[in-house]
Symmetry: C2
Subunit: 480 residues, 2 copies
């Protein structure tokens, strides 16, 4: 067995066991590793570079829409967490508690933030006094802890990284507008940066944010037919303003409670990228966020290896100067074939092969990761050609993912069909729901499917389960 | 009393009470606020934008020297923290402990990282097996918790943000080289980005990192004659490699322990910037890291305010297009005079004043924050003129701070003089030290001064306290 084969064989095929395929890819590509603390993960340099690119792209969007970053303490006094009744009920079971500082027991336990509404709202109450102070549009990038029982690298870990926006507005309308603006921003980010198509809508009461009024979400369809919640935007109404006494003097000198929102996406999006685009050879990364967009593999086995290396370095410099992220793999101890497999497995969008004969011809070979398509390109046009190919790969994988999502989305005619689909190919099922918790629970019990998002509340049809008239049209799926 | 005066009067003069001046500036400029959790702080948007600019500049330097970022869990099992004996002894008194997850008590307590050697070294032991895996050059940006009794905004808080580099090398020489390379990088960053001159050297055994072999540091002199440790770089020898079993097969197929380093700077650098450059009117920010480098104040009280605003907006767009960070303060409810004071207090390096008469003349007024120097500048050259002034302010405040530092640095002739200086003007005292812990303790007892850094270990002279012959020449100071 050659080295090349061995490398690929270490990854379980998707079709054989998707869950093992996922873990193999995460670990072989060195995106993440398990930690000595059960349920926590280490984000390794390659995985972190990917996250940094995602974070920076989203951070620009958050700032471009008028938000500013800040940082709040990660400890929340227990009494603060308890101020909003539904909120503490929802989060308390997953909270990690600090009870000792040094060798002294604390008078009041401190929660490690499972989300930061409680600490942030307590500060907003202090900072906001007039309508002139509104809106407050603050975001923070932070680590979050939720004591999960079952964890999976990136998808569900005890500690994870995220951004959380927390805003306060003068009116209910403005808060709703912000909630939807952010939902659209997340969709834009998922589609145009991560190349992940999404479905957007709002959650049922059962699935909404603890303490909020309405939760909107984007949901993405994974290769195995399960949906992944990829971002949420919550309209919190006046619930938190009342619990934390966030009041302002309005334009008529009257005291009013503010209207707030919160919203977030996390490192689980890295998992979404892997499961949407990856294949049996490993990762496939969208060019916009790939740590390396191009890997240069010099063929130095022939004559004049020094000249090949020198040319490879020149090409690298030219590409880097054009803002392209490039890795030149000039290691002696591996063959070109081994390197091809390695960087395919790591999902680098473009491979540039350059050898003595290429140099003679003044051209190089550019191989596209998704379909291994070869492009023979003149060296003189390298910058423009590489950029063109990166753009086309970005579009192509979005198109492929959209096609996959659409193929996995069906309308169920009746309950028998619904059950059959969920038992076999899964995916999204579009159907009417009568709006009751009872029906929601029964559907889950019988099919493991939950309401991912309600996409229409002004429609008319019959509930897929009870046959009752309803106006709620939803996407159902099994979910991560 | 006018609004202008009121704003400035809210800040205690430096000469009256430096400590109150500091707190006034931090809070009035909305850099930070106290939190409901004692000892923790909130970094408000203006303070966080400042930190982001510092972080991004340093992050580029860290990456340019070949390091990559990653993320490790913030929880460390107690047994891991205990593996290096000196290390746990040094940090245990300041550790916050997690004892419960949800409603379940944990089998083993988890420390919230006071620094990450223990968790990171345990992973390095797993990842490193051959000399080919070395060096490992990883950095992380993270939040850190130390249970401090006395805290001050930015300077010493229970939770703070920092970067921590953790590297492993094949040889002792390479580890030492890395330790010094980072020390130089920190100096470069302090001097050329923060405009803070520093003294560099190594710590006495008493002050070194718990578990390390030698700690190097940069120290900065504050306006009140006290020194602030601004960054540390530790050569850890093989101590952690042995405690965590980080071994690699060397070039002769023999198993060897690795040689490691760690190094960090934190949000306390924000405090250093404030205390080095600020004055009685508030903050003075180095242009390279100021959230806003230019504030435009339009004079709209005269005729044709709309035209003034339109011109102000045009100037803003031109400057922004040139990569300059600009705030246009077009609020109606405040007078230009009030805005001048406000943005002076917030330390914006350049103020651009524009009114109807300026527009007629085709010029604007640019006022430099540090000395209020006025520059009358043609609008057509605005981009170049602004950039020139920003550069000159950056140099000027470094020069001013260096002069201040030099004025506060003296050589003590004898012990009486040493005591007198430390009792009166403080500052750095350069003197010989006999190398004993006893002398070090006595000097501190009698003068509150500690050895900030040893700058020469191959010199020859008499200990300032005992008169003994020694080769250690050091900087002494009272410290933050």
């Amino acid at each position: 067995m050659s080295e090349d084969e061995k490398l690929v064989k270490e990854i379980t095929p998707k079709t054989e066991d998707f869950s093992r395929w996922y873990t193999d890819v995460v670990r072989k590509a060195e995106l993440a590793d398990y930690s000595p603390v059960k349920g926590c993960m280490i984000i390794r340099p390659y995985g972190f570079a990917l996250w940094e690119n995602m974070r920076d792209a989203l951070d620009r969007m958050i700032k471009d829409t008028g938000h500013v970053n800040a940082y709040f303490p990660m400890f929340i006094p227990e009494s603060y967490l308890k101020k909003e009744a539904e909120h503490v009920e929802g989060f308390a079971p997953e909270v990690a508690w600090i009870t000792h500082g040094g060798d002294k027991e604390l008078e009041e336990r401190l929660a490690v933030r499972p989300t930061s509404e409680a600490i942030i709202c307590s500060m907003y109450a202090k900072w906001i006094s007039s309508w002139r102070d509104l809106p407050v549009l603050i975001n923070q990038w932070a680590n979050i802890v939720r004591w999960e029982k079952v964890t999976r690298l990136f998808l569900r870990t005890m500690e994870f990284l995220w951004q959380e926006g927390h805003t306060v507005h003068e009116t209910a309308e403005e808060a709703q507008e912000e909630t939807l603006k952010i939902l659209d921003m997340y969709e834009d980010f998922a589609v145009n940066t991560l190349a992940i198509p999404v479905v957007k809508g709002f959650k049922s009461d059962k699935e909404k944010f603890a303490g909020g009024v309405r939760t909107y979400a984007i949901e993405a369809m994974m290769w195995d037919g399960k949906s992944l919640q990829a971002g949420t935007s919550h309209n919190l109404g006046q619930n938190f303003a009342k619990a934390f006494n966030i009041r302002y003097e309005d334009r008529n000198q009257k005291l009013q409670y503010g209207w707030s929102t919160s919203w977030g996406v996390s490192t689980r999006l890295v998992g979404a990228v892997i499961m949407t685009h990856g294949d049996d050879n490993g990762l496939v990364l969208p060019p916009k966020i790939a740590p390396f967009q191009v890997v240069i593999v010099p063929i130095t086995s022939g004559k004049n290896p020094q000249k090949v290396l020198a040319e490879a370095n020149k090409l690298k410099d030219r590409l880097v100067k054009n803002g392209i992220r490039v890795k030149l793999d000039d290691r002696d101890e591996y063959t070109p074939g081994w390197k091809y497999s390695e960087w395919e497995m790591r999902g680098v969008p473009l491979r540039l092969e350059i050898g003595p004969r290429d140099i003679e011809k003044g051209s190089v070979v550019l191989v596209e990761r998704p379909d291994r398509k070869k492009n023979f390109v003149k060296m003189e046009n390298i910058e423009a050609e590489v950029q063109k190919l990166l753009d086309s790969i970005q579009s192509a994988i979005l198109e492929r993912a959209t096609k996959m999502r659409d193929e996995k989305t069906v309308e169920a005619e009746n309950w028998e069909q619904f059950k059959k689909i969920m038992a076999e190919k899964r995916g999204f099922i579009k159907a009417y729901w009568d709006g009751t918790r009872e029906t929601e629970d029964k559907i889950k019990e019988e099919t493991k499917a939950t309401i991912r998002v309600i996409v229409d509340e002004n429609s008319k049809g019959k509930c897929i389960y009870t046959g009752k008239e309803t106006n709620l049209y939803a996407y159902f799926a099994q979910a991560y």
